[in-house]
């Protein structure tokens, strides 16, 4: 390479990046000035068709987690990573659409803590608001770390300068109004990412000699691996089940149980059904039927996303010189954060196979995804901080302007804090391990409390907060015990175990505490608990008149059948 930067971009690449940001900021400006009725139409709540909200739903999630984390996982572990999509996402998305969405859409809550407040009152609300705010700051740090990695790869600056610059870029994106047309941007972003990752996958496969060439090379690399290599055997990398490499269990049976219960049930249901960064997209649709279809329509592209993020990771591990060395137990220099880590799989593959032009498209897609992801974390933090914490517990009854000022300060504060939480994320060489750990701490107990509170009207306010606190503490305890070396599980096994423990502890304690404390009166639970919500509040009267392909249940059935077929095929 001619220069000392990781990626050698030229004017053509920067032009493509600039065009994308021109579009995004242009839409933001138009949206704020409302130059057109149709923009108002698209932005006013509850007017969008289901395909738009469905794509925005997927796109809100197609950020750092998906692109860098999954390609890193693909490079390190191979095909078992597909479980994150086929076991760890699609079933939960279908469940969200079929069972839970009617409660969200009907009760019009705008955040998780708000739901907690209405169902359980102050205790659970406070616990949840604090843990949600902390989680958003930590996840914003992950997005920022990856964004800074790209800045560093492009410009060659030291990592801390890149972090500050990336933070400043996100802050200006938020203040220039890039978020006011979030759904427009997310749908655009989806197409840009697919348009850049699909060619990357195809060219990468072309270089290694197609799918057969890829499997041959993985087998050969595994057979010739040095003793320092901790890569799993080729047979485990090339079959999705039983996935010991992912779960860290030696026994195939335990591994399947770990994946299905830990990842497939607790972690993924916890993530998808309580994550309002995504659920809010569905709330913008034009009817309860469209809101229910939002995650279900999103499930179809979601099934095929792994082919354009995991496969490039696997290609990278057998094609890029640094990645081959890393997987063989070496520690090559020159990655986005200093030494090469699995997180660099995608960037290094881009460097090696994309010509200038396509390279710019790929950079635009990655920058867009991480920036939007971090902006979403920060704005979620901002809402919870200014309305759920500051207004409710610290300074009541001030003017709207006062809370807006607090919100702006919170935005700046959160960005600065994210620069520090990014340091934690940089300490993990596979960012997916870190993220799953966080989800185990925060989402698994939340899901347990949600699901129990939604279907068991006896559950009491005290049980609400006790379960959440105990669940989170037990997940942290499991993680720290593992970190102290008391027991060992490779891959994401510790995160799966911590999440499962948190879920079980939360459920058991909630039931025990509920039996000895006083429940809320039934009339306050309408719209919040299944048995207290009349059927007409949960369904769309027009649903039955739609053709079958526009109804919720048949669509969900097709998605489920497709994902089962995919599981058997790989």
């Amino acid at each position: 390479m001619s220069s000392d930067t990781l990626i050698d971009a030229n004017w053509l690449d920067y032009l493509l990046v600039a065009i994308y940001f021109g579009f995004v900021l242009g839409i933001g400006v138009m949206a704020r000035r409302s130059v057109s009725d149709s923009i108002d139409f698209f932005l006013s709540g509850r007017s969008l068709p289901a395909w738009v909200t469905g794509l925005a739903f997927i796109s809100a999630n197609l950020g750092a987690v998906e692109i860098m984390g999954m390609s890193a996982n693909g490079a390190q572990l191979g095909l078992p990573t597909f479980h994150y999509f086929w076991v760890g996402a699609v079933p939960a998305m279908l469940f969200l659409g079929v069972v839970m969405m009617p409660f969200y859409y009907g009760s019009k809550v705008r955040s998780v803590p708000e739901f907690m407040f209405r169902r359980f009152g102050t205790g659970a609300h406070l616990v949840n608001a604090i843990s949600f705010a902390v989680a958003q700051l930590l996840i914003a740090g992950v997005n920022l770390a990856l964004l800074a990695g790209i800045v560093r790869a492009l410009l060659g600056w030291p990592i801390w300068v890149s972090l500050i610059v990336a933070g400043a870029v996100v802050l200006s994106y938020i203040t220039l109004g890039g978020l006011s047309a979030a759904i427009y941007n997310e749908v655009l972003q989806f197409f840009v990412i697919v348009a850049s990752l699909l060619p990357l996958t195809l060219i990468g496969l072309n270089r290694v000699g197609g799918w057969d060439g890829l499997t041959d090379k993985i087998s050969a690399a595994s057979a010739g691996a040095s003793s320092a290599s901790d890569a799993p055997p080729a047979a485990q990398q090339l079959n999705a089940w039983p996935g010991q490499a992912l779960s860290g269990f030696d026994s195939p049976l335990l591994s399947v149980v770990g994946i299905v219960f830990g990842l497939g049930f607790v972690l993924s249901f916890g993530y998808w059904t309580t994550n309002f960064v995504e659920v809010q997209r569905a709330m913008a649709s034009d009817s309860i039927s469209a809101a229910r279809k939002t995650p279900i329509i999103g499930a179809f592209p979601k099934m095929f996303v792994p082919f354009i993020v995991i496969v490039p990771g696997m290609v990278s591990a057998v094609l890029v010189a640094e990645m081959i060395e890393l997987k063989d137990g070496g520690s090559p220099a020159g990655g986005a954060s200093g030494d090469v880590t699995y997180n660099d799989a995608l960037l290094l593959l881009m460097r090696d196979v994309l010509p200038n032009g396509l390279l710019g498209l790929a950079i635009a897609g990655l920058l867009a995804a991480f920036m939007a992801g971090m902006a979403a974390n920060i704005s979620a933090f901002n809402t919870v901080f200014s309305y759920d914490l500051w207004q409710r517990y610290i300074r009541k009854d001030h003017s709207d302007d006062y809370y807006l000022r607090i919100g702006r300060l919170a935005t700046v504060g959160a960005t600065v804090i994210a620069i520090f939480t990014a340091q934690i994320a940089l300490g993990y060489d596979n960012v997916m391990n870190y993220l799953q750990t966080l989800f185990g701490f925060f989402n698994a107990p939340l899901f347990a409390t949600f699901i129990l509170g939604m279907f068991w009207k006896r559950m009491t306010p005290t049980a609400g907060w006790v379960g959440l606190v105990a669940g989170t503490l037990s997940a942290i305890a499991v993680d720290r015990t593992a970190a102290a070396g008391v027991f060992e599980l490779s891959g994401q096994g510790v995160a799966f175990l911590a999440a499962s423990v948190a879920f079980v502890v939360d459920i058991v304690l909630s039931v025990v505490v509920s039996l000895v404390t006083k429940p809320k009166p039934a009339e306050e639970l309408r719209g919040l608990v299944y048995s207290e919500t009349p059927r007409e509040d949960r369904t769309d009267p027009n649903e039955a008149s739609y053709p079958w392909y526009r109804r919720t249940a048949p669509l969900a059935g097709i998605a489920l059948a497709m994902v089962v077929v995919l599981n058997f095929a790989f």
């Binding site: 053509l12 032009l15 493509l16 065009i19 579009f23 933001g28 138009m30 949206a31 704020r32 409302s34 057109s36 009725d37 149709s38 923009i39 108002d40 139409f41 698209f42 932005l43 006013s44 709540g45 068709p49 738009v52 705008r110 955040s111 938020i174 203040t175 109004g177 978020l179 006011s180 979030a182 427009y184 749908v187 655009l188 197409f191 840009v192 348009a195 060619p199 060219i203 072309n206 270089r207 809010q280 009817s287 090696d352 196979v353 994309l354 010509p355 200038n356 032009g357 396509l358 498209l361 920060i378 704005s379 979620a380 901002n382 809402t383 309305y387 807006l404 919100g407 919170a410 935005t411």
Partner: protein, 103 residues
């Protein structure tokens, strides 16, 4: 789509700001630039394994972009005559816009 039937005198089509036209414009613009880069620029076959990746991706994006334009033309979204001004989403810290009093 929920917006096909009723077309009274005052409602109008979403036109330029239909999200499909915006997607179409971006994809088509990228398509043209990449196709031109593929035709005129260096081809870098050693990276791609011999395929002119810019050209083919550009052509594909052009087709996708035109497809979105065609979809928006064939099934236009009709904006109802009296659209509520978009409410500020309190979860978003973008510059705020006050909702006008209800009419």
């Amino acid at each position: 789509m929920s917006t096909t039937s009723e077309t009274d005198g005052r409602s109008k089509k979403a036109g330029l700001f239909d999200i499909r036209n915006i997607i179409g414009a971006l994809m088509a613009l990228y398509g043209v630039i990449l196709a031109l880069a593929g035709l005129l620029g260096e081809h870098e076959p050693e990276k791609t394994g011999g395929v002119n990746a810019n050209l083919w991706t550009g052509l594909a994006l052009l087709v996708v972009g035109l497809g979105f334009f065609a979809w928006a033309r064939l099934r236009p979204i009709v904006v109802p005559p009296d659209v509520d001004r978009a409410d500020d989403d309190p979860t978003r810290p973008a510059p705020q816009r006050k909702r006008p009093p209800a009419h």
